[in-house]
């Protein structure tokens, strides 16, 4: 029996999961049209590989990963590409992303599948296989899974995250109940790839059916995995908190779990990995909970690219529904429109109304009661961070470890003054990133300018030197005794240039923004995403004919 540990704080929001677990997972009917964003994951968007009018088969690669931090996108079913255009997607910024629109032909014709025997593959080969099959984390962050298999030090413990601590969401619960054997098989692939010694499958104890199913599947497989029931406490499903519960280890701030010999995968991801290896199927669909203000809440297996509006129709949204949330009520986001498409990260859609989620009262001033600090799983001082964020004192906010905030929302849940605390932290984080980026751009511009000055100086100097040289040569010729000190002149010149470059470098280093240099890959990904969006905006502005502000440099 594994000894369990506790993390600081946490809350007990009403689970609201039973509504959607009364019925088994139902396959969502094939939609007429799919809208497939080329960025459904953390990292770079995939590069479209198809043309408008092209016919594609189910499982055919339509978007290739770009660079190391990206994921492949596949056609979720057979049909014809009808458009490749910017479309609204499920993102809080409501900025459009490049999407491939697929007119579904209903024939479900498969492209060639390539099952592999994972035992015959090297680590790198398995990573390449997962990358080619578009496998990303299905727990919410959609981090490319192949990247999580790369690690510097041996992984002692593999942790499977079946905590599913967010209220309303039950997709992992239902998946574990119905496909435990596939999950266990996927876990074995992951264990093999990571060469992990111990495997712990953590499930919150409010899911007894899932725990029983997983225990049964582990027993049948004969594998030495341990299914651990953990106390229900939000946010136990956050990777760092789950690792703490199961191992007692704290992932150091700014580091990755692999740095302490632990790796963590969502149970849904394990199932997708099993299908990628054993069945050769890319990640084309996922289980999604449709719940909230609907007549028939339940879980569906839906193709990536299915519009949320169609999914909600299956469960019959009640008439007073006026908005939709993707994800849970603690960390989810309000959809900019109901017709944005399901992506790989979409674990849940909640039909919302004022009756279900009453609007919060107007915030009062903070009374420093520290209820937020008492529930903060990152052990931050949210009341101080709020104070710094609202006064734009970003340096202090960083000093008070703003970037360790996991945005779980426990602080705002308990705040007696109803202050939207997480909103302030998101604002502060994005401001800090934007400023860092501006600073970096300014630094680059200054560097270029300085180098330009340096070159002009050097050319001037060289010209003068050449003239002096010529004069000396003339003089020498006249004296008929040539002794050119050219080499030494060049040396001092070079030294001067080197010194100037050194100075410029030192200045650049001194002007580097602090606190952003030891970011985790997730944070870097987020920054990259923001930068990409900014660049996109610039491009859009330029395209619109606004030539007063040309895009900076590329």
């Amino acid at each position: 029996m594994t000894t369990l540990f506790t993390f600081h704080g946490g809350i007990h929001p009403p689970g609201n999961k039973a509504q959607s677990t009364a019925h088994p997972i139902a396959p969502a009917p094939l939609p007429q049209e799919l809208v497939i964003p080329l960025r459904q994951h953390a990292g770079e968007p995939a590069k479209p590989l198809v043309q408008i009018g092209e016919r594609v088969l189910k499982g055919q690669l339509i978007g290739a990963p770009v660079g190391g931090f990206s994921a492949a996108i596949h056609a979720p079913t057979s049909g014809t590409i009808s458009a490749i255009a910017l479309k609204q997607v499920a993102h809080p910024s409501a900025l459009p992303e490049l999407c491939v629109v697929l007119a579904v032909d209903g024939r479900e014709e498969w492209a060639a599948r390539d099952p592999v025997d994972y035992r015959a593959l090297s680590g790198a080969e398995l990573q390449a296989h997962l990358r080619a099959h578009g496998i990303v984390g299905l727990g919410g962050a959609a981090f490319p899974s192949d990247m999580k298999l790369r690690h510097a030090i041996p992984v002692e413990t593999l942790i499977l995250n079946g905590a599913e601590c967010e209220p309303y969401i039950s997709c992992d619960d239902m998946l574990m109940r119905e496909r435990a054997d596939e999950i266990v098989r996927g876990v074995e692939i992951l264990r093999h790839a990571l060469e992990a010694r111990a495997v712990l499958i953590g499930i919150e104890d409010n899911k007894p059916e899932a725990i029983a199913a997983m225990q049964q599947a582990v027993q049948v497989s004969g594998l030495p995995f341990e299914v651990v029931a953990i106390p229900t406490l939000y946010p136990s499903g956050s990777a760092k908190q789950l690792i703490k519960i199961l191992t007692g280890l704290e992932v150091p701030s700014g580091k990755l779990p692999t740095d302490i010999g632990v790796q963590c995968f969502n149970v849904g991801t394990a199932c997708a990995i099993k299908r990628a290896c054993d069945d050769g199927e890319p990640l084309l669909s996922r289980i999604v909970t449709v719940t909230g203000n609907v007549a028939h809440p339940r879980n569906y297996e839906a193709l990536v690219g299915t519009r949320f509006a169609e999914l909600v129709q299956l469960s019959k949204a009640l008439p007073d529904t006026d908005r939709y949330l993707m994800g849970g009520p603690m960390m989810g986001l309000e959809l900019p429109a109901a017709d944005v498409p399901l992506v790989k990260a979409s674990n849940c859609v909640i039909a919302a109304s004022d009756a279900l989620f009453p609007p919060k009262p107007a915030p009062l001033p903070c009374i420093r009661c520290t209820r937020c600090a008492q529930v903060c799983p990152a052990e931050l001082q949210p009341q101080d961070l709020y104070w710094f964020a609202q006064s734009n004192n970003f340096g202090k906010a960083q000093e008070w470890n703003l970037f360790d905030c996991i945005e779980c929302g426990a602080c705002a849940y308990v705040c007696p003054s109803s202050i939207p605390l997480v909103h302030y932290y998101r604002y502060a984080k994005s401001e800090i990133r934007a400023r860092d980026q501006e600073k970096r751009a300014a630094d680059q511009a200054r560097e270029r300018h300085e180098f330009h000055q340096l070159r002009i100086e050097r050319e001037k100097q060289e010209k003068a030197d050449r003239l002096a040289q010529k004069e000396r040569e003339n003089a020498a010729k006249a004296a008929a005794a040539p002794s050119a000190p050219a080499a030494s002149v060049d040396d001092t010149q070079q030294m001067r240039i080197d010194a100037a470059i050194e100075r410029a470098k030192a200045q650049t280093i001194a002007a580097q923004p602090k606190n952003t240099d030891h970011l985790t890959r997730e944070q870097q990904a987020e920054i990259a995403a923001i930068e990409a969006r900014r660049a996109n905006l610039h491009k859009l502005a330029a395209d619109a004919g606004a030539d007063d502000e040309p895009p900076k440099q590329h």
Binding site: F7, H8, P13, P92, P167, K240, K244, E250, V251, P252, S253, G254, K255, L325, G327, P329, M330, M331, G332, L333, E334, A352, F357, K360, P361, A362, L364, P365, C366, I367, R368, C369, T370, R371, A373, P377, A378, E379, L380, Q381, Q383, D384, W400, N401, D404, E407, G409, A412, Y413, V414, C415, P416, S417, S418, P420, V422, H423, R426
Partner: protein, 342 residues
């Protein structure tokens, strides 16, 4: 469109304040039992003054009235101040104190959440400095008073400043048990002799010791319902006990026993209701311990060696000043940063 979380289940500010008000009721009930209903009149006058001042200041500051008048914080300030002013004092005393507390100590600093000092204690400090005479004539317990002033006559004095003919204020009032102790010690009496005086009971003053018990009971309710954390009240009481204990052990004839300090003056109401004001106290656990220990030491020193009848108010105000620096230096390690932290 605000971002997540979309659900919340807080104990709202007005509910927290209401529970603190409720927790004062046992103490107030015992107050009425031992000293008559006059205190209810001063609480009412203080409450009305507080709400009126708060409304006027909010109006002047162009702030919405409803959310702030209904947050119950002004009422709490009013009740705490009324409980620290003698009930048989002219009506304007409690009005001046409450108005100053709300207008200057709270609203001029920015209102709810922004006052660096406990407003009630600032109000008390202003009164004790400005009107020491009025502030030191306390009603005698009903069972004790050689001359008992009926409630109606008390009200005549409260509102019109007139006592029945032939009576002086000194005849119907007394100084507090703490004050009496100090005066008698100055006169050369020993603690043992002084404690024989009729105004003293088992633990401290007759009646007042029971009121302190009432406040302690209310405080325990706040502690067990997690409205307040244990750090401030327990550390404060422990420090006060420790200070008094050391002095008492060394010289019991001159220094009264620690329990006397616990159950006299504002020690209990201070421990559970005044120091625990979250706005003017530290936020970190370590900080709370430092703050409460400092307040305990200062309270004892002011009581025993200072010139004022009690030390809780000034100790609170002095420690309030230190809160920003205490908070800055007691930041706990965050998740994942516990190793290698100085």
């Amino acid at each position: 469109m605000l971002s997540s979380p979309f659900i919340a289940r807080p104990l709202a500010v007005n509910q927290i304040m209401l529970r603190v008000l409720l927790a004062l009721l046992p103490g107030i009930a015992l107050y009425v039992w031992f000293f008559g209903p006059a205190i209810l009149v001063s609480i009412t006058v203080a409450s009305l003054t507080a709400l009126a001042t708060e409304a006027a200041m909010l109006k002047l500051r162009h702030r919405p009235l409803k959310p702030f008048l209904s947050d119950n914080s002004a009422l709490l300030t009013a009740w705490l101040l009324a409980l620290s002013v003698p009930p048989l004092a002219p009506w304007w005393l409690v009005v001046v104190g409450t108005a100053f507390a709300i207008a200057v100590a709270k609203q001029l600093y920015g209102g709810l959440g922004n006052n660096p000092f406990n407003p009630a204690m600032i109000g008390y400090a202003v009164l004790i400095i400005s009107f020491p005479h009025e502030m030191t004539h306390w009603l005698s317990p009903q069972a004790l008073g050689a001359v008992h002033l009926p409630f109606a006559e008390q009200m005549v004095y409260f509102f019109r400043g007139v006592l029945p003919s032939g009576l002086t204020l000194d005849a119907v009032t007394m100084s507090t048990p703490l004050d009496t102790l100090k005066t008698q010690l100055h006169l050369g009496h020993s603690v043992g002799e002084i404690r024989e005086l009729p105004i003293y009971g088992r633990l401290a003053g007759q009646g007042t010791e029971m009121i302190a018990l009432g406040f302690a009971a209310g405080g325990l309710y706040l502690l067990f319902t997690r409205i307040i954390s244990w750090h401030l009240p327990l550390v404060f009481l422990a420090t006060l006990f420790g200070m008094a204990g050391i002095f008492h052990l060394v010289d019991p004839a001159h220094y009264v026993a620690p329990l006397f300090h616990w159950f006299s003056g504002a020690a209990m109401i201070g421990a559970f209701f005044i120091l625990t004001d979250p706005i003017s106290s530290p936020t970190t656990a370590k900080g709370k311990i430092l703050f409460a220990a400092g307040a305990g030491i200062l309270t004892y020193l002011i009581r025993v060696f200072g010139g004022f009848p009690d030390g809780v108010a000034f100790a609170t105000i002095l420690m309030n000043m230190c809160v920003p620096i205490i908070d800055a230096y007691t930041q706990p390690a965050v998740f994942g940063q516990k190793e290698g932290r100085k």
